[in-house]
Amino acid sequence: MSLFLIVLLPFAGALLPGLLIRAGRNVCAATTGAVTATALLGLIVNAPAVMRGQSLTARLDWLPALGLNANFHLDGLGLLFAGLILGIGLLIILYARFYLSREDPMGRFYTFLLLFQGAMVGIVLSDNILLLLVFWELTSLSSFLLIGYWSHLPESRQGARMALTVTGTGGLAMIAGMLILGNLADSYDLSVILTRKETIQASSLYPLALVLILAGCFTKSAQFPFHFWLPHAMAAPTPVSAYLHSATMVKAGLFLMARLWPVLSGTPEWFYIVATTGLVTMVLGALIALFKDDLKALLAFSTVSHLGLITMLLGFGTKGAAVAAVFHIINHASFKAALFMTAGIIDHETHTRDAQRLGGLRRLMPVTFAIATITALSMAGLPFLNGFLSKEMMLEEAAHTAWLGNPWLVPALATAGALLSVAYSLRYLVHVFLGPERDDYPTRPHDPGFGMWAAPALLVVPVIVIGIYPAVAEALVNTTATAVIGQDPHVHLKIWHGLTPALFLSVVAVAGGALLLSVQRPLARLWDSTPRPEAKTMFDAAIAGLAGLGNRVTDGLHNGAITRYAAIFMVTVVAVGWHAYGGGALGAETRALSQISPVAWIGWAVLVIATLGLIRYHRNRLRALVLMGVIGLIVSISFNYLSAPDLALTQLSVEVVTIILLLLALNFLPEITPPETPPLRRMRDMTIAAAAGLGAGGLIYLLMTRDFVFGTISDFHLTRSYKGGGGDNVVNVILVDFRGYDTFGEITVLGIAAIVIYAVTEALLDSPVRRRLLHRQPGHALAGDAHPMMMVIGTRVLMPIALMVAAYIFLRGHNQPGGGFIAGLVASIALVMQYMASGFAWASERQRYPYHGIIAAGVLLATATGVGSWLADRPFLTSNFGYFRIPPLKEFELATAMGFDAGVFLVVVGAVMLALESISRMARRQDNEVSPYPMDIDPARETTPAKET
């Protein structure tokens, strides 16, 4: 079967259990099993070739730019691990079917399990280290889901997060390590990397890459000081513990160390980091395991210890040690998975896994007892069981290893580890199964059904067979070891090696272990009373501290004060601008300063005084508005003074409209802005504002005293305006023709703004804000005459005149100052005056076209004019014009740009009026008294009008 298919099958099949759970739990479990079995079958089909020494590959380019490709290969090491993953997986699926209760969502469980399985198979078959990283992280993610499976339990959630955090940290470190490694080897393909040992180890980056990669391995394989997550992961259902945390996932780190052994090992760095970590982990894990009462915790720490053992062996860097490591991986997987399952059975049948509450189960649960005895003794390393063989090999290797020139340290500690291992293994038997039967079990224990003990029982078979007749495992060990050390070690596995130092150490360990167990209880009391750093507390405190810090930092920084945001913005702009300015060269001034006329002086003085006044009186909103009007006026005048009549006209009309709209808005605001900031902060803001102002002024001064470096594009506009655009007024031709597209955008902005104003007020109409506004008591008495006669009559007279002016300005725009924009503003002013004079209700009753429509019609008209040029096969907004003569009129010009300008006109009128209408609506009440008359007091009327509604 193709390697792709083997990896893909679990992923593809992961959807099935989630769906098929609807057909029942048996169907669900059977399907999951079938998926795994198929993948296993596919693997087995390839096994003979691998055992013959071939290695299979399958390659597919995925992200060649990066070197991340879907390359898989299968050699001895991959075969062993994939076999373990799929084989034990099959047993776990069987076990879980009976372990999970009816309430547990089994479909989800199997889905997660298959995802995990696929990720694991992916790791061990990857030939590309980046691809390996993908699967590596996937195992972290899927194990997060599996540990958190009982998500209603806090320890599940916490355990899941802790596992994800720790293994995730390692994974990220490993990303960096792998990227460096790939760079050193000039390829991310393992098959290439494995041939580049010299290059890699010669590089100065080797230690860094090594440390980063090992960080990934150590976290995954729960090596000291990252071992603390594993016991907390035991909150997962037992099948998960048995699968992930004994047989497969925690071995991923070992796998990777074995995989990269040919290139990374053999250096002092490797030896001291890996072997030492392994050694420490082995002893420490075993020591803690001895004192754990929770059976799963005991097994978890024993796993930590055994993983340390294997790590240590790999760290020795010798071929013999590597072979021993491989062999122990096989053995550990078999006995530990079975042990976990027995712990699960005990938990399942007695409803406790606390060793203190158990004991005497051997008669009540004989089958479980048998399985547990064989596997635990194997774990202890007693003869005729597989654990014995690899432990002997380990002790043999340890006996020859010196640490910093000290020849007895490693053997002594290794023996201590083995001794502790014997002690806790025996404890698992003695404290749970032996001793008197109790009468206070939470439920009456009995052996489970066949389905539940079948899986561990099957695992006992290799434990015994290899233990008695080790030669059966020879082929597998040799093939696997070949993949690790690069040559066939031709190892012969036997029980009896003669009277070796290892045997002596082994005897010491067994005897010592048994002795230690007899004093376990008093030691445990001592252990419990000694203060120890508690990893979980530290971890939780670290995370909570980090989250709290994050919260304080973000909430403190983003406190919603726009003044602060603006201050930071200004400071940044000024600082960065200053830095940029300082790094460049500035040429000499090329323009002489012109004489300042008295008019300019006066204008300048008024502007400055008005601005200072605005700063002084800005808390009084009305006064501020008046002063803003003054400033606007001066700006308009200065435009005119500087020969920009179009701008002046526009600015003037914009000022009028803006001030009117602002006046309307003031109606809803308090008259005075209360000070909100302390004086010190106001000083700060003042300084910043002054710096920004000086910066802007300085920049403008520098620009105005220098000529353009190149000829500007306006020369083109000046020369083509009449000939190409049909207008003498270049400003208008630029607006409607040269850069009509900009105008098209800007009128859209205007239209949108009006629509937004409408939408906002619409949203406010039903809000409590509006109710509050309406019931607000005005600060002072209102004028009794809301619609004075003088104003009504005046505006009526002005209206046709203003409209005429608008029409005039519109028509002459192409050649004289004017155009659609200004005309639109003037026309709006004419209309606004009517609203002001006779009130909103009266005026809008006489208004037939909705302002929305006017805006939209304007945009459409502008667009249509632009699109019209497509008919002539010219680009959008291409203009055309001609001169016509209809007697008795003089010759006149017609330009398509007029259509566009008319669009501008409509949008401006519509936008201004819609804004006005929206703001007015805020002030209207349902019960508002609307006068049918244009003015409140009218001498022509007989009586004072009866108020109608």
Binding site: L63, P64, A65, L66, E137, L145, T165, G168, I175, N183, L549, G550, N551, V553, H558, G560, I562, Y565, F569, T572, G577, H579, A580, Y581, G583, A585, G587, L699, L702, R706, F708, V709, I713, S714, G724, D737, F738, R739, Y741, D742, G745, E746, T748, V749, I752, I755, E762, S767, V769, H852, A856, A857, V859, L860, T863, G866, P875, F876, L877, T878
Partner: protein, 512 residues
């Protein structure tokens, strides 16, 4: 004459205007026309991407005036990619707006939506610096309208901050353009590129100021620290489909940086060489770090996503600020990825909120919604995986590409450390939030208070779009090879701007 280039601007403008004019009271018609229009835009964008794929730069001279005197639209690979990205996202978020009923909660949603699209697409297509400003305004004002759609005190308040802050940016934009014009006398970007390159050393001070101010404007849009302050509140409080669409808004800033700082002020330009490189990369890294801290510190899902968006902009800007061809490919890939990841998360946060009644989107334990908690959890899980850069979704490839591109950089150590450590913190943050919201549930109250109706359950369309937003993240990962291939061509085109310049300046002008 090929008019397809202008259609992405004209079509939404027309549709929006028609909507306002003819059926502003008919939600159904609005939905039909607006969705059809967006779908059409997507197809047109695809067509344009195929055209641009050949490597030719197409120019559309508005008003038939030649560059640099008139305004031109320019279609190259980069513009085409951004068009496709925007329209695809827009189509999905629009369907979500319809499916979740968000579009009915206020006035003029669809008109504003189309105007918004017009602004974004126009900004991607224009070849003129001032016109870019105009379309920034279009998209800003439309986005403001969309942001406060539906009203509510918190939203209006956030909207005010949003628009004020961005108006500050617009003002700075005008200053930058004024300076640029005062020195070079032109506004066309290709012409600017030519003139800026020819500028003597005597004029470097002012052109540097212009370059930096312009960059700051784009950084405001791209939410670079410390100019990001407008983002968290507004994104967290915007209506979900709008927040989702806004995933593209920060990318407009990123796009503009890429466009202007490969074309007009390329890193090889001596005058501006050391004026922004020194601070852009550190600021990008800070953005990444602070965004991530925000993920961890967030109390609300939407705020968490908003900070995740900032963090992803940090990564993106880190890649951009390396200014190499390889890093640009990474940046473009990350752009595609982070847009969809952010958008998906906002939609998912909204779906969660819909079922949680009082708990809203607070990251606190709450009664599990009666239905679909599992599906939502799965969606959140997937989107979080993408956002934190875990495999197998596109975030992982994106992260690797960025790390790989940073290899040659002087600051490789800090970049790697920042990217990897912030990934970890983001993982912790998302895991905490996800496990609290989806796992730490208590059973629903058997006797709900009488005034509470049943929790809103999102409709099928809303759920389907939630799922659909994950699809691009999967596809980007699966087809990472071809995608990066196209993107590598794109950055090659960006780093050989001669083709762009000559296409713009040498296209024959007016047929006079």
């Amino acid at each position: 004459m090929n008019h397809w280039l202008i259609v992405p601007v004209v079509l939404p403008a027309t549709l929006a205007a028609l909507t306002v004019l003819m059926f502003r009271h008919h939600l159904f018609l609005q939905r039909v026309f607006s969705t059809t229009g967006t779908a059409a835009l997507f197809l047109i964008s695809l067509g344009l991407m195929v055209r641009a794929g050949g490597g030719a730069v197409e120019v559309y001279e508005l008003g038939n005036w030649p560059a640099p005197f008139g305004i031109v639209l320019v279609l190259d690979r980069l513009a085409a990619i951004m068009l496709v990205l925007t329209t695809l996202l827009a189509l999905m978020t629009q369907l979500y707006a319809i499916g979740s009923g968000w579009d009915a909660r206020g006035k003029h949603f669809h008109a504003l939506y189309q105007f918004q699209l017009m602004g974004i697409l126009g900004a991607f297509l224009t070849g003129d610096a001032f016109n870019l400003f105009v379309f920034f305004e279009v998209l800003l004002i439309a986005s403001y309208g969309l942001m406060i759609h539906g009203g509510g005190a918190r939203r209006l308040r956030a909207g005010t901050q949003y628009v004020i802050y961005n108006l500050l940016g617009s003002t700075l934009f005008l200053f930058a353009l004024g300076t640029l014009y005062a020195v070079t006398g032109t506004l066309n970007m290709a012409d600017l590129a030519v003139r800026v390159a020819e500028l003597g050393p005597d004029h470097s001070a002012l052109i540097r100021v212009a370059a930096v101010m312009l960059l700051l404007v784009f950084c405001v849009k791209a939410a670079l620290l410390p100019l990001h302050f407008w983002l968290p509140e507004s994104y967290a409080n915007a209506p979900a489909p709008v927040a989702s669409l806004f995933a593209i808004m920060t990318k407009v800033g990123a796009y503009s940086i890429i466009r202007v700082y490969t074309l007009v002020f390329p890193p090889s330009l001596p005058a501006t060489a050391d004026s922004f490189g020194v601070w852009l990369l550190p600021a990008a890294l800070l953005t990444l770090i602070f965004g991530t801290i925000g993920i961890l510190g967030a109390h609300r899902l939407t705020r968490l996503v908003a900070f995740a968006a900032i963090a992803s902009m940090g990564t993106l800007l880190t890649a951009i600020s390396l200014f190499t061809e390889q890093a640009m490919t990474a940046a473009l890939y990350y752009t595609l990825h982070s847009t969809f990841a952010t958008a998906a998360l906002f939609v998912i946060a909204d779906l969660v909120r819909a079922g949680r009644r009082d708990a809203d989107d607070l990251i606190t334990p709450a009664p599990a919604p009666p239905a679909r908690n599992g599906l939502l959890a799965a969606l959140f899980f997937a989107a979080a995986i993408a956002m934190t850069g875990m495999p197998p979704l596109s975030g992982f490839a994106g992260k690797l590409l960025v790390l790989d591109a940073a290899r040659a950089a002087l600051a490789m150590g800090p970049i790697w450390a920042a990217v990897l450590i912030s990934s970890l913190v983001a993982i912790i943050g998302f895991a905490r939030a996800g496990s609290t919201v989806f796992w730490k549930t208590h059973p629903p109250d058997p006797n709900p208070a009488p005034d509470e109706g049943p929790p809103r359950t999102p409709g099928a369309l809303a759920l389907v779009t939630g799922c659909a937003l994950i699809a691009p993240l999967i596809l980007l990962s699966v087809f990472a090879g071809p995608v990066t291939g196209y993107l590598a061509d794109t950055s090659a085109q960006l780093y050989a701007p001669q083709g762009y310049i000559s296409a713009v300046l040498h296209t024959p002008g007016v047929a006079e």
